[in-house]
């Protein structure tokens, strides 16, 4: 399934495949560039668009709905590539025009002598070794790359070979070298033409990209992606923090409980002023039950606020459900009870001590 666009060609509307549109755009831009800046060039472009529109409507004829790449190719065949203008030749040149590598306004002339092997930086994926080779042999870049990958598969020495080539074969950096690579004469006019071509291509490519939706979409999703990453990092950090604090709180509670148990079982001894030995704390206290209640009070008075605070701080991060009203009420009531217990039995305890020592 492909995405289609609606396009206005010479006043008529057509549905055209996404990739076909790209190819047609490139072609029309090639033509535009070839026609240059003369006053008449706009008129000529209009004529050409009209003709394309005419051809399309002929071929669609109500049977088909969408213009495909095949149609665009046919149009290019009929109208010819810009390099083929102004020359009445035997047959319009076919080979070397539809290399798979990319849309190329490459003036590939077959059979030109003195072609030199260079690395082609324009179509390079890594170092341009394969594309340079393809240009030199005048075969499709894809073919070279496929053959090369097969080579690697059957014995990894391909890697070494590639690097050797990378080092040895010079890069076609200057325009003169690029011309030599394609086997064209290195004349001043050719160089000028090539430089202008390439400048135009890059400019169009950048313009097209910047103004196209893709650019904005990519920028947007890149920005989004970044904030997402930051958000996730923050979340992880908070969860970590929650874990640590939770652990600390739990250990405090455990300590409280342990001390409560210790107290109760009488394993805490305290020096008694009127006995020579250590006695369990329990015996010193007038009302042993008060310590139990005190501990319970402590648990409530500290534990409940702790849980509440924990919930408040980390509930969002850990996706806890917000506490229902009744929980809040019950929690508060028990907390008050806890405070009350602490106060009451605390005083009781202190007074019992105070009674002994004062």
């Amino acid at each position: 399934m492909k995405k289609t666009l609606s396009v206005n060609l010479g006043g008529s509307v057509y549905h055209i495949d996404d990739d076909a549109y790209q190819e047609l755009m490139d072609y029309l831009q090639d033509v535009k560039r070839h026609l240059g800046d003369e006053a008449s060039s706009e008129e000529v472009l209009n004529d050409i668009e009209q003709r394309i529109s005419e051809l399309f409507s002929q071929w669609m004829q109500g049977r088909r709905e969408v213009i495909t790449r095949a149609d665009v190719q046919k149009v290019i065949d009929v109208l010819g590539r810009p390099e083929q203008y102004d020359s009445a030749e035997g047959e319009p040149k076919e080979e070397g025009q539809r290399t798979e590598s990319q849309r190329e306004d490459s003036a590939h002339s077959s059979g030109q002598p003195h072609r030199r092997l260079y690395r082609d930086p324009e179509n390079a994926i890594l170092g341009g070794v394969c594309s340079g080779l393809a240009v030199y042999l005048n075969i499709s870049v894809v073919l070279v790359r496929v053959l090369y990958s097969l080579l690697i598969w059957f014995g990894g020495t391909g890697f070494l070979f590639y690097f050797l080539c990378w080092i040895i074969i010079p890069e076609a950096r200057t325009a003169a070298q690029r011309l030599e690579m394609q086997g064209e004469d290195v004349t001043i006019e050719n160089i000028e033409k090539k430089v202008r071509e390439e400048y135009g291509k890059v400019k169009d490519r950048v313009d097209g990209y910047v103004s196209s939706n893709n650019f904005q979409k990519n920028m947007y999703s890149a920005g989004n992606g970044f904030t997402e990453v930051v958000r996730v990092c923050l979340k992880i950090f908070l969860i970590f923090l929650a874990g640590i604090i939770g652990l600390a709180g739990v250990s405090v509670l455990v300590a409280l409980i342990v001390s409560l148990i210790a107290l109760w079982t009488g394993s805490i001894h305290i020096a008694s002023p009127w006995m020579l030995d250590m006695v369990p704390l329990q015996d010193m206290i007038a009302n042993p039950m008060s310590t139990t209640w005190l501990s319970v009070g402590f648990l409530l008075a500290f534990g409940i606020p702790f849980v509440a605070l924990f919930r408040l701080l980390f509930g969002r991060t850990l996706n806890l459900k917000p506490a229902p009203k009744w929980e809040i009420w019950v929690g508060s009531i028990f907390w008050f009870i806890g405070i009350g217990l602490c106060t009451f039995f605390g005083i009781d305890l202190i007074s019992s001590f105070g009674g002994v020592w004062l």
Binding site: G10, S40, D47, S57, Q58, G80, Q84, Y85, S87, G90
Partner: protein, 107 residues
């Protein structure tokens, strides 16, 4: 010497002349002109003609009218102007002269 280049230069020069000749016979659409050229064993891609015709029109040798078409957008229907006819005559003479020179050299 690059023979293809020279041949192409030769043909480039008189493509305009041939176009004018075709239009002298009768007013035509671009596709008709291509057919005419093809029948004279001059195969060009359509794209060549558009800049050429526009140039001739801007120089005043041709004029066109819009012809509505059932199958698609309206098309330009070209014809020679008076100036165009005059130029054609001149070119005809120039061509004969050239032809004579070549024949002479070939003897």
């Amino acid at each position: 010497m690059d023979i293809e280049n020279v041949k192409s230069q030769m043909r480039k020069g008189f493509l305009e002349y041939c176009t004018l000749l075709i239009l002298k016979k009768k007013a035509s659409y671009t596709s008709d002109i291509i057919e005419g050229l093809k029948s004279a064993h001059l195969i060009v891609v359509e794209g060549t003609l558009y800049p050429l015709l526009t140039r001739l029109k801007n120089d005043g040798l041709l004029s066109y009218e819009w012809a509505e078409s059932t199958q698609g957008p309206p098309r330009k229907y070209y014809s020679l102007t008076e100036d165009g006819c005059a130029i054609l005559e001149e070119l005809g003479e120039a061509w004969s002269e050239l032809s004579m020179s070549i024949n002479h050299l070939n003897e």
